[in-house]
């Protein structure tokens, strides 16, 4: 039997979370709970090597995505005959029309897809779309969900009940099904990218709202809030200057997880043929392009390149979310 101390009450923390979220959770929340539970609080002040790796990966990715046009890589829709595999139309059998798609061939480090695109360039341009969708949706989600959560948690009472009811209703449809149906019916109305951002933002609102509200409830009870009120500070000022700064770390941590969930959801929608159009590169699109190759046993690397970018990004985001949570979580700090 282990004799050591329990590594902090992650389980109780989760139980608290589940209780504060009223037991009506969904994919997002449970995922969030699962990710955060079992994490040991960082006792050291310094960032570990894992956190640095995660930061380097994300920053590098963002820089590459921003600088994509001036990087020495092929254009996103540029095709190369050297990596093109001609495919007979309407046939399940791929005929090799010369050329190769495998990595390290003729200066194409990651190889190419069946349309003759260079995969490295595809992945970097894809990062643009995937990151815009991921961060865009969550930024919107924070704006709406965060505001609602802050107001509900601060004022309580009737306003809070209405807000919680509203968030509950949004949670009542499984996230992916909601995003899927919204994207499906909205397409053709606005630009594809915006539809995705809006649909995925909507699924992130209730999660961010609930977390913000739960944290606001706790922080609004603290002495310095009472002190501010006693000094005659306006509600708005207390909310933004006293409560919000303390709630931000928790929101930031959940937001990072949220970006990861949204990136994965974007890829899933693309796979289902509902996301961005074919000319817009995205990681989900790369996987979708390589799918036939994989199931026919021709080559798997196209799918794996797309998958690797998604996996590493989600891993980095999840890891950073944990680090942020462990560093700022009041429950785990020795007060």
């Amino acid at each position: 039997m282990p004799e050591q101390q329990p590594p902090e009450s992650a389980g109780t923390a989760l139980a608290d979370d589940l209780e504060t979220t009223g037991l009506v959770a969904d994919a997002f929340t449970v995922e969030v709970a699962g990710v955060t539970a079992g994490v040991q609080p960082a006792r050291k002040k310094r960032l570990g090597i894992g956190a640095w790796l995660a930061i380097v990966w994300l920053v590098g990715l963002i820089l590459a995505a921003v600088a994509a046009p001036i990087l020495p890589i092929a254009g996103a829709n540029e095709t190369f005959t050297s990596i093109q595999r001609a495919q007979a139309p309407f046939s399940t059998i791929t005929t090799t029309g010369g050329g190769t798609t495998t990595p390290f061939a003729e200066g194409h480090v990651l190889g190419g897809d069946r349309n003759g695109h260079d995969l490295l360039s595809r992945a970097i341009y894809g990062a643009r779309n995937s990151l815009i969708v991921g961060f865009g949706a969550i930024a919107f989600g924070i704006l709406v969900g965060g505001t609602l959560g802050l107001i509900g948690g601060y004022y309580r009472g009737r306003i809070d009940a209405v807000i919680v009811g509203f968030l509950d209703i949004m949670l009542a449809i499984p996230a992916l099904v909601l995003a899927l149906s919204l994207t499906a019916v909205l397409r053709g109305r606005v630009d594809d990218l915006w539809i995705l951002v809006i649909a995925l933002a909507i699924i992130s609102v209730p999660v961010l709202g609930r977390i913000t509200r739960a944290n606001t409830l706790v922080w609004s009870e603290r002495e310095f809030v009472t002190a501010a009120r006693a000094q005659g500070a306006k509600n708005w000022r207390i909310m933004t200057r006293e409560v919000l700064p303390n709630v931000l770390p928790a929101m930031f941590s959940i937001a990072l997880l949220g970006v990861a969930v949204v990136i994965s959801a974007e890829a899933a929608l693309r796979l289902l043929g509902i996301g961005l159009s074919i000319t817009d590169p995205s990681w989900g699109g790369i996987i979708n392009d390589g799918r036939d190759f994989l199931t026919q046993g021709i080559t798997a690397h196209v799918v794996f390149v797309g998958s690797a970018f998604i996996f590493l990004t989600i891993l980095a985001l999840n890891y950073l979310a944990d680090v942020v949570r462990a560093r700022f979580d009041v429950r785990e700090a020795a007060i």
């Binding site: 209703i169 009542a172 992916l176 899927l180 890829a267 509902i274 998958s307 996996f311 891993l315």
Partner: protein
């Protein structure tokens, strides 16, 4: 016919419905319960209203979208059938009445009633979700117990790291990796298609294994970590020391004494996880071409059969809401702390 799993699936539905009814019956007795009930009704109304309005969010004439090559003459009965000539709220009322009675409208690309296809698909989806959940719990519980028992050792640490990585892999990526190595390269499993249990049980499980495992991987990681952290706490309790002092074997202490008090969070998470599984199942059914509700939904979306989309979304949402209400109700019956907390809050 299509035996065990479907049967279990339907049994689950029956249990949930009965459970909801039982919880309702209990709830009418208390003030908090009545409020909860009212909330449930409101949520159901809003959710069905949202599903209903999906058809009207689509650009253009809903009848024309669903049957693009029909003449104006042919569209008339369709408009009549959907009720497009009525005021919006009347349409919703009619749609809801039909929905409750199991009339989900028609798929205009095949001219078949939507409920017929959903009836066939429901079993497949339930099987997939059931297998995935079973697989996840069957693997996660022993792993979680062992990790807690070996807390701090290399096994625990590596299991934790692997679990952390596994959570970051979307189910469809797991699916492609499994397809490539186990189906394409080794040829142990088929890459696609569905075989009914009644047709050939062995083939059935062969076809369902990869989809179920793809869905289960992330859940295994989540469940394992939940159980591990609760279990570590339980193992510090006095009654465990007592059990050790009595000379019970480790195995007996872990499985008989420590597991039950540690499994509350795990079971809550597992119960609430059905929503995640429904979402994941949509993608997995698509990748493996399993004719479940997820694939049905995708097909309706891509053929722009929005009447069918309404029905799918409404059905999934209603099932999800009722299931959560059921879990909630069961907990307030099982765990008096929640009941009292609610009563105090009300």
């Amino acid at each position: 016919m299509d035996a065990l799993a479907t049967l279990l699936g339907y049994l689950l539905i029956v249990v949930v419905v009965l459970g909801v009814l039982a919880v309702l019956a209990l709830a009418v007795g208390t003030r908090a319960g009545r409020r909860k009930l009212l909330q449930l009704v409101v949520v159901l109304l809003v959710v069905t209203f949202f599903s209903f309005s999906l058809l009207h969010l689509t650009p253009g004439d809903p009848a024309r979208t669903q049957k693009p090559f029909a003449t104006e003459e042919q569209l008339k009965p369709i408009r009549e059938e959907i009720g497009l000539n009525e005021p919006f709220l009347v349409q919703y009322k009619d749609w809801l009445f039909n929905f409750v009675q199991g009339d989900f409208g028609r798929d205009y690309s095949t001219n078949l009633p939507v409920q017929d296809s959903i009836g066939k698909q429901l079993g497949v989806s339930l099987q997939l979700i059931f297998y995935a959940q079973f697989l996840a719990l069957a693997l996660a519980i022993p792993l979680g117990i062992f990790a807690a028992y070996k807390a701090g050792t290399w096994f625990d640490k590596s299991a934790n790291s692997i679990a952390f990585g596994a959570i970051a892999i979307p189910p469809f990526v797991v699916a492609f990796v499994l397809i490539f190595y186990l189906a394409v390269q080794l040829g142990w499993f088929p890459t696609q298609q569905y075989v009914a249990f009644g047709t050939d049980p062995a083939e059935h499980f062969k076809h369902m294994f990869l989809p179920a495992l793809s869905l289960a991987v992330a859940q295994i990681a989540i469940y394992m970590r939940l159980l591990r952290s609760d279990m570590i706490q339980t193992l510090q309790e006095d009654f465990i020391t007592m059990a050790k002092a009595k000379g019970l074997t480790n195995r007996r202490i872990l499985w008989r004494h420590a597991l039950r008090p540690s499994s509350f969070t795990l079971l809550t998470a597992a119960a609430l996880n059905f929503g995640a599984l429904i979402g994941g199942a949509v993608v997995i059914e698509f990748v493996f071409q399993l004719p479940g509700m997820g694939l049905g939904l995708i097909q309706s979306v891509s053929t722009r059969q929005y009447t069918a989309v309404q029905a799918y979304v409404a059905l999934i949402a209603v099932a999800f809401v009722l299931f959560n209400a059921f879990v909630d109700g069961v907990y307030s019956v099982l765990d008096p702390r929640i009941r009292h907390a609610r009563a105090a809050a009300a």
